[in-house]
């Protein structure tokens, strides 16, 4: 093997990748969702974008101090 470039047959490669099919599928679904969130954010006005950033900061701080109830799917900050 040279320079860490080991090449395999297409069939072998696809069979290896098939064993990770679920995570690859999850990866693509997650990528699509993230892209959609980013696109929505970019379509907002600068003021609204600031508000979203503040809200994200608020949610991040909230999760760090453990006051967020993950089971209910709601938080104390929902009325912000």
């Amino acid at each position: 093997m040279e320079q860490g470039e080991y090449k395999v047959g297409l069939d072998t490669l696809l069979k290896i990748l098939a064993t990770f099919d679920l995570s690859i599928g999850d990866f693509f679904d997650e990528s699509a969702r993230s892209e959609s969130v980013v696109q929505k954010y970019r379509s907002l006005s600068p003021t609204a974008q600031k508000e979203v950033e503040s809200f994200i900061e608020f949610k991040r701080a909230q999760e760090e101090d453990g006051s967020w109830d993950s089971d209910s799917g709601e938080s104390e900050g929902d009325d912000v």
Binding site: E2, K7, V8, G9, D11, L14, A18, D21, G25, F28
Partner: protein
Amino acid sequence: MSEATMADMTSRIEELRQRALEQVRADHFDEALSLYDEALGLTDDEEVRELITINKGHALIAAERTGPEVKALPMILMRRRNAHHTFLSAYALMYTNRLANELKRAIFYGQIALEAATEAQQTLWQVAVQNELGIVYETDSQFGKAIESFTQALACLDKKGVDDVAAQAFSRVAIITNLGDSTLLSGNSKEGLRLIHSVIDQIATPHAKSDAFGNLSYGYLDLGDFDKARSYGEQALEFACEERQVRNAHYLIGEAAYKAGDVDAAEEHFEQLARFYPQFRHLKSLLFAIDLRSMINLKL
């Protein structure tokens, strides 16, 4: 037995052996095995029996079968009765280990075969073993060593003493094609394409044509010439003889079409490829997202 009768018998055994070798070259393995058995039944000479046993072992390996003659090969090699038997048994063991994907062992036996061929100053043996060693190295992704072996094989062909014109031409096309493949895989696409183009019109069998066109498609993909990549991929599909070649061709055409902006054609060919992997639900998404070309060797 009189001397004349013995000479007749020796001649008859050699005739049977040569006919068997011809049958092996024509892929008529059952006929070859019967001829070898007939020859073995006619002699008690240990050296002759050993040679026929090696030949029969080789025929069994070529037919992807096994038998006592294949199992006897390591012992025959250890005995090293003469350079011819050492070369033939080591070569057969290299070949069978390559088929079993035991590449380190294949290289080990290949080196022994090469030493025997060199010591015996047999040019055609050297050509055969260097070419086979090149294939083993390429399979093991050792492209530099593969290129060196194929280059050595070509150098041997150019030596004086190889006067079989047909064997010369056939070997040269096969070795240049192999050298082109390894050169492409090493990343030198322009030189790899030049080598394959230099022999493409002399490639005779549909199977070899499909592989060569697939490799041209692979090389042009690397150079960003997607029209040529697609055209050669379509020719690879036209001549495809086995599933590997069909899968490769659909992948190459799909990749070339996608990169050229023809998403519908890419979708169609990736769909054809995905049918080979019904359990792989996201295969098409993967193919659209990632270029797998740098990770694959189309021959495997």
